[in-house]
Amino acid sequence: MLFDALAEPASRPRVLVVGGGIAGQAVCEQLGDGAQITLACAEPHLPYDRVNIGRLLTGEELPALQLRPADWYEDHGVEVLLDTRIAALDLDAGTAATAAGATLVYDRVVLCTGSDALVPPIPGIDAAGVHVFRGPEDCAAIVAATSSSRRAVVIGGGLLGLEAAHALATLGVPVSVVHLMDRLMERQLDGPAAALLAPAMADLGVEVLLEHATDTVLRGADGEVTGLRFSSGVELACDLIVVAVGIRAQVGLARDSGLAVERGIVVDDRLVTSHERALAVGECAQHRGVVHGIVAPIHDQAAVAAQTVLGVDADYAGSIPSAKLKVMGVDLVTAGAAEGEHAVVVADAAAGTYRKLILSEGRVAGTVLLGDTRGAELLLDAVRVGAVAEDPLALLADASKATAAELPDGAQVCNCNGVCKGDIVSAIREQELGSTQEVVAVTRAGAGCGSCKPIVAELLAIERGGAAEEATYLCPCRKQTREQLAAIVRTEGLESVSELGAACGAGHDCGACKPGLSYLVSEICGNRHREERHARYINDRVHANIQNDGTFSVVPRIRGGVTSAAELRRIADVVDKYEIPMVKVTGGQRIDLLGIRKEQLPAVWEDLGMPSGHAYAKAVRTVKTCVGSQFCRFGLGDAIEVGVDLESEMEGLYTPHKVKAAVVGCPRNCAEAYVKDIGLVAVEGGWEIYVGGAAGATVRKGDLLATVQTAADAKRLALAFLQHYREQAEYLERTYTYLERVGLAAVQEAVLDEELQAELLERYRIAKSAADPDPWRERYAPVTPKQFSALDTEHDLVGPPTGVAR
């Protein structure tokens, strides 16, 4: 039972939203806190952006299309029921039965059941190898089929069909679009624009066959598709067919519930169906005879439906249809009517551009922009409001020169999430946003397909008076940069985060910058600062990595990935003794012990008898090695010895972000030195030093810093580079972004110059000499009370040190 009838006053209606698509999500967003919402999704996924489903064909994963993260629903009190199909509605009683047999109670129900792919009744259409293009499962099946497909056909030359065909061509499958009509996208385009679109698609590897009516799908012996026969009798061989001829409103539930249904669920201007308790929004709804199959009207409808539910008078007067073709290399935007008695056109057949404005009684009624979509937002807004255009040619010309500044506040900038210019500008002003990334995060403009991000950035630049995007603030609350804060530390001779905070306020408001301030103070003071654990992240207070359940992971130092039977035995004994739930070999050639309680940490460290691997810190993590010349028949250098030495020399120091390194004995690169922050590669007659490589979320081959003759020179350069990075990088800036920001040449100048290099190495030596080589020794002398326990617990006791660990 989901609803307790007495739990909430009637002022917050219980609303059941049926369908977890863009429409269902939009209704939830619009209802906000005004209602107790239950969202029933038939699919096993949270609402995702179906408009961009084509991206699933070209390697994107479904989570990238998810409209909101899981905790959004939790945070907004929206109860989400996944995999829940509503089987029946009793509208008079206000109940719903799920397919699984549960009963839901509601005051109002909003049907957002969307649509199914329309499958034409062609003989053979049920052959294996024929797919529709509607959900993630369809995309997965299509992608799987492309690996063996030699020729694909897309039936349907509308927006969706063209996007599917382009994705297939991108995947390297020869593809033809078969279209019944005499032009592509006939609902949105006029003849001349469509005539330009066909060759543009051909340039992208998509063959277009117009006026081809498919008569039969041909099948082979095993029922698999082998081709098509057209009504002309001509045949076309293929082994993969994607059907994208249109959609059909999902009205089964509505019809069975006794609602008036024509092509869609009939709704009035309030979006209410033939039963007062039920509303319908999106592709399943039919308003004034129109069933929309595109995204923009959904947001308009959802807003009105939410107001209706919340008891506010609102009318939906219909939407102007608009469409944007999401095919890389073909820019196409349309809105409103494509043809009319009065129209002006600016076209350049050679350049493949076509810009048209359609007018009705002196007002803008439609636009088609192909190949040159400059000013699209301005023209879309003109269509939306029916702007008076005394000189339509001038309007077209002006639009192509328009900047974001000239857009009216009501102009929709982000069509995926329905965000207007006014929303973006006021968010920038009221919340003092300084970077495009922030604006996208706050307003969600640009969080969908991303095509509007340049406009978002332009609006930000305008609001900031043309100033470049905000500098990276180490303390965003007080807008202080690393350089500004470093200057205060130096000139006033400060030695702690508290002193810095007292001097300028940094770290007092939200505290997020305190670890960064800690690093800054320690780096400038050469680790002779006054350490304050309150300014450190929990990992650096207990020297272990916090996990999602509040337990910790422990990674002992295993330099160069070289261990011994004795160490492995001790690790095994610790795992048994403390019943450690998970032992995992890491990507960095070490061993991770997971699921350890804070109170166990000191005793676990004691029994391991190995120093900290700093796997929890922004510090040098590990130096991976291959076996090199000690064993490998191809080895040119002693990777193990050099790697172990380098790790000893680099470990124990905090860095702006984590630093991963590797040493390999030849360019076969078995330990991936080319994609490490610091990578040493033995070559014939010497060593190469690579810096700024990465193989995480970003993949980047490191830049060659220098080639030297001896391993000692290589290690020296690695340390000089590390110190330059420690001094120059922003906090939480990895070496690859730092390198791209300051430039390889600047780094080489500092690191390779004999004098400057000596200074860097001297500062490094000073910092290293004051750094704690093994923070796990705090097990003998905790630096704060209850460092490894709670107020009412004690950590496992450890006796006095028996000797220096390793």
Binding site: D509, C510, H534, R541, I546, G550, L791, D792
Partner: protein, 107 residues
Amino acid sequence: MSETWTEVGYAADVPMLEGRSVAFDGGRIAIFRLRDGWAAIDHSCPHADGPLADGIVADSCVTCPLHGHRYDLRTGLRQGDEGSVRTYEVRERDGMLELRVPVAVAG
């Protein structure tokens, strides 16, 4: 029981601008030592049960170490979003920390 103060531990066990958790009233409470006194809220972050006593503390808020949700230590309200944790009354008496459920909440 909400009227009475319960002794839960030594004040000296909570360092300046840090938190420590303790069992109380059927759950765990995080107690923080601030520059201007004490604060106590639920230990478990409502988002994903993150241990709030392990969070970084600024003048009047704590940040959950797991996903960065931030709570005002005086009101319990999540900053920048909806949601909240419960707050408790906490005081120091003769070196001991004492907790009680605020009367309004307990009512």
